[in-house]
Each structure stands twice: as C-alpha cells, then as structure tokens.
C-alpha cells in the first residue's frame, strides 16, 4: 500500500493500531503457564494464568477502544411529509412490511428449512453410527488345557468373525494357576499405549498350535518373553505390561476374562496405568478403556474428560 501525499493518511490509521505492551504481557503470561506446567502446575501455572487473563483483558479493551475512536456520529436524515406534499414530491407510503420483503424472507426461510430437513439426518448418519451400538464381543480362546501354567502364549483371534480378518487381534496370555480358589490369567493386549502399533514379545518364539472355536480359527504361539517391545517408536514394557522405556504414556491394556465350561473367554479390554507386583498377586490399576497415547492418571488425564461411548 503506497502512502498518499495529500491529506492525512487515513488508511494507515485504519490498518496499524498504535503499539501497546499488552500483547507482550500476554505472551509472557503464556510462557509462565508453560514453564509452570513443567515445574509446578498449581502455583506457577496459576500465576501465569492470572497474568495471561489480565493482559488479555487489557489487550482486548485496548483493541476495542481503538475501534470506538473511529466511530463518527451522523445525524439521521429526516423528511417532512407535509413539505413533500407541498413541493409535489411523492410521499413514501407507510407500509412497514412490504410484500416483497415478506416474499424474500419466505424464500430464504423455506430454503433454510428444506436445507435443514435434508442436512440434519444426513449429518446424523455420517456421525452417529460410529458412536451408537458399539457391541460387546466375547472371544472363545479354547479349553483351559491349552494354557499350561506359567507359560506365555501369543494368541491371535478374530473379535468378530463376521467381518473377517480385519478384526484379528493379538493378546499375550499367561496362566497364573489357581489363586484363592479361582483361576488367574494375565491377558495383555498387544496394542501399544503410545499410538496403537502391534507390540511384540521380546523373546524366542516356539511351537504354534491351532484351535477352532466359536470365533473361528485361533492361533496359540509359545513364547518366553523378557518383556514386550513396539516396532514403531521403540516403546518397551515388562512382562506385566508396565512401561519401562520409550514414548508410551501408560501400561499396556488388558483383557477381562471369564471361564465358561472350562474354556477361556476374553471379554472387553480395559486400560491400566501401572501394575504393582506380578502374576496372580499383581495389583492392577484399572481404568476405563481409553485410546492409545491418552493419559489415564496424572494432570494430563484432564485433557480427556469425556470418552466416546464404547463397550
């Protein structure tokens, strides 16, 4: 934009507000919040929040003030009907709501109504099916005799055989024996708690056995892992699924299970922040199932207050 020579440069005044320090203070406030998140979210974080809010308020007030200055008061134009008649000019009729305006608003309103009638169900169909009726699945892994006590098995199975291989999942299963008169199993999901890649057993792979159950073909592969590792970004877990290294934010998810007629049945998965102890004595800190990369404990859990509905 070139500045013009003649007259005050009004355009420049419109586009360049006078410099203020409020944005700077606002930025300092944000910086303090960020530092506070690392050092002490409660104290330093709230100091930063106060600075940010104060300077934000001042900044907005300042900006509003600038606009107010530009306002120019113009007196409304008035016409005298009697004078107009005397001068022979046409007098505007006192029609407050002319027909043309009625037709205009009817056309626009009807168009909006038709648009809404079409859009609302279509948008609902695009959004809702992924959230409603997320069914539970039970997975039959076969008779308990397939799971020798103390041995790890990599089980692959289809959650929903009707939709095929795309529903194939993997779990690491260990029979912990009988604990307090009840069978105990450690069943760890192989979905990495970082971004959902397939976690692998860190150890030698043994014989594969196949079983056909109500859920179609199930494969059980012997293994003796020292832990579990993710090939994507290097997340590492111990044999209880606790994170030991890398980017994951929590322990590996686990499957709930039941024993039905001497068969091991997998139920829904749940999330785990960490596990104390091992095997049958393990104390599992359970949470509702959340997506990979989402914290279930600590201050970060407040970033994920409402989970979408699922089984």
């Amino acid at each position: 934009m070139e500045p013009s020579e003649n007259g005050p440069d009004r355009d420049a005044a419109h586009h360049e507000p006078s410099p203020t320090i409020y944005p700077l203070g606002f930025a300092v406030g944000i910086a303090v919040i960020l530092v506070g998140l690392v050092i002490d979210p409660l104290l330093i974080g709230s100091i930063g929040a106060v600075i940010t809010i104060i300077f934000g308020f001042l900044w907005i007030r300042d900006a509003m003030h600038l606009h107010h200055e530009e306002e120019v008061a113009v007196e409304a134009e008035k016409r005298d009907a009697a004078k107009a008649v005397a001068e022979g000019r046409p007098v505007p009729t006192a029609e407050r709501y002319p027909r043309s305006r009625f037709l205009e608003s009817m056309t626009v309103g009807l168009g909006a109504l038709i648009g809404g009638i079409v859009t609302v169900p279509v948008a609902g169909f695009a959004l809702l099916p992924g959230f409603v009726g997320q069914g539970r699945h039970k997975v039959d892994l076969g008779p308990l005799t397939d799971f020798p006590e103390g041995a790890w098995l990599i089980a692959t199975f289809m959650v929903d055989p009707s939709i095929g291989e795309v529903s194939r999942r993997t779990a690491f299963v260990r029979n912990n024996g009988i604990f307090k008169n009840e069978p105990s199993f450690t069943i760890i999901s192989n979905r990495c708690a970082h971004l959902g890649c397939p976690v692998q057993a860190n150890g030698p792979i043994g014989k594969t056995s196949r079983e056909t159950t109500a859920n179609g073909p199930v494969r059980l592969i012997q293994t003796s892992p020292a832990g579990f590792g993710c090939p994507c970004h290097g997340g590492q877990y111990d044999t209880e699924g606790n994170r030991t290294a890398g980017p994951p934010v929590r322990a590996l998810d686990r499957y709930a299970f039941e024993i039905d007629n001497g068969r091991l049945i997998l139920l829904s998965t749940f999330s785990v922040s960490h596990v104390d102890g091992t095997g049958a004595q393990a104390q599992i800190h359970k949470y509702k199932l959340t997506g990979p990369g989402e914290h279930v404990d600590g201050p970060e859990q407040w970033f994920y207050p409402i989970q979408p509905p699922h089984h």
Binding site: M1, E2, P3, S4, E5, N6, G7, D11, H15, L127, P129, G130, F131, Q134, V159, I163, G164, E165, V166, S167, L195, G196, C197, P198, C232, T290, G291, P292, G293, E294, F303, Y304, P305, I306, Q307, P308, H310, H311
Partner: protein, 268 residues
Amino acid sequence: MASRKPPTKAQLRRQHLEVAVQYPMDWLEERSGLIGGIKYFLFRNVPSDTNWMQTLGASTLTAFIVQAVTGVILAMYYQPTPQGAYPSIVRITDHLTLGWLVRGMHKWGASVFIILMFLHMGRVFLFGAYKYPRELNWIVGVLLLASGMAEGFTGYLLPWDQTAYWASVVGINLNGTAPFLGPWLAQFLRSGQEISGETLTRFYSLHMLVLPGAIAGLIGLHLYLVVRLGVTSPPWSKEAAGRERPEEPSDLRQGLTPPAATGSGGSD
C-alpha cells in the same frame, strides 16, 4: 476497403477457413460470453518483472488435475472392501494394461502435489505476496494445504496392506491424542471403536468425493481472488516500488490504490 487486385485462391481459402473457425466461437460468445470470460481469465496483464517462481501455483493446479484424472480412472477398478481392496490393487498394478502407470502417476503425483504446495507457499511467503490485500487468499491457501494433507492421509489407507493399515492406526490415534475432542475425532475417523471395513469405505468416500470437492471449490475461490487482486511483483521489483513507472499506469490495480493518489502524479 476495396482491394486493387482480386484475392488469390489461397487468400480466399484462408478467408473461408477463418469464417469457419470464427463462426462457432461467435455463436458461443453471443449466447454465453464464455469466450470473453476465458480470455479475461487467461490473458490478464501481469507485472512485467514476474518471476519463474510464480509458476509454482499453476504447477500445483496441474498436479491436482493429474491426481483428479488418474484418481477417477483408478476408482473404476478399485474395490473399497476389506476382502477386495488389496487384490484389486494387485490387479491394477500387475494385470491391467497400463494400470501400473496410472497407479504410479497417482501415487507419486500425490507427493509432487504436496511438495509443490509447500514450494508455492514458500514463494508466496518470501515474496510477501500474502500481505494486504491478499490475506484472504493466504487463508484459502492454508485450507487447501490442510485438505491436501487430508487427501494424503485418507489415500494412504486405500492399498489396504500392512503399511497402509498400521500407518492409519498410528495416524488416527495421533488425532485421538488431541485434547478434549481428540478421542471423538478418532472414533469418527474409524467409524467405531476399532478399524474395520467401514473405516476403509469412509476414507474412500472422503478421499474421492468430499476432499476433492472441497479442494476444487477452494481452488475456484483461490483463482477468483488471484484474478481479482492481480499478481504481485517480486520484492526486488523497481516498478512496484515506484522507482520506475511504466508509461501508462496499469489498470489492474484500479480501485485498490487510494483515490487521492491517482490525481497527484508521481510520488517520488
């Protein structure tokens, strides 16, 4: 204008040909104004010191057209089902005549499109071409960039091999880690709690209908603003700086310069 000599045979033939070519053009112009419109769009005045870098936008448009055309053809052979997707990709690549070529154009052209978008954006940034009055066109460009990246994300799943599957798992879960609405966005993208055949059809629909439609519309808006606001001179332009004025002021920017400046002559 009577010519002294009667026209030769060759001249006559040429005249006939011109009439024959001109007639349908005139017919169309009289009824639609399209010829004039296309001329207005294509034969605009641009600053005399434009740079080769300013062809990057048109290159990006060309890359998009290549993606659109090859994509439409690929959609004739591709099957967006969990059982059929990968076999149909194999069939396109290995069995159908020239399928390898068209799929290759689409696959590599996708990278070309994204790279050109970034180069074009870099040119606009470094030339300062995003400044007043072109801010809105920068914003439209950012929306185009986001739509283009979304095209890349949704298209990556479609081959339905291990790379595609796990890349989409990671990509969707990355979206899921966004605060507050992230988990909802991830579940929308997956169309459920887990990736399934519906995720594939959803991505296919987004990839070949929703996003290309959005991109085409945004390109229309982008070009409208380019035509309306004119092409920027490079930052080193003496002409744009007012040091070397062309003899006749370009009428391209009429209405953009403040009215006061027009009557006052040179400002230096």
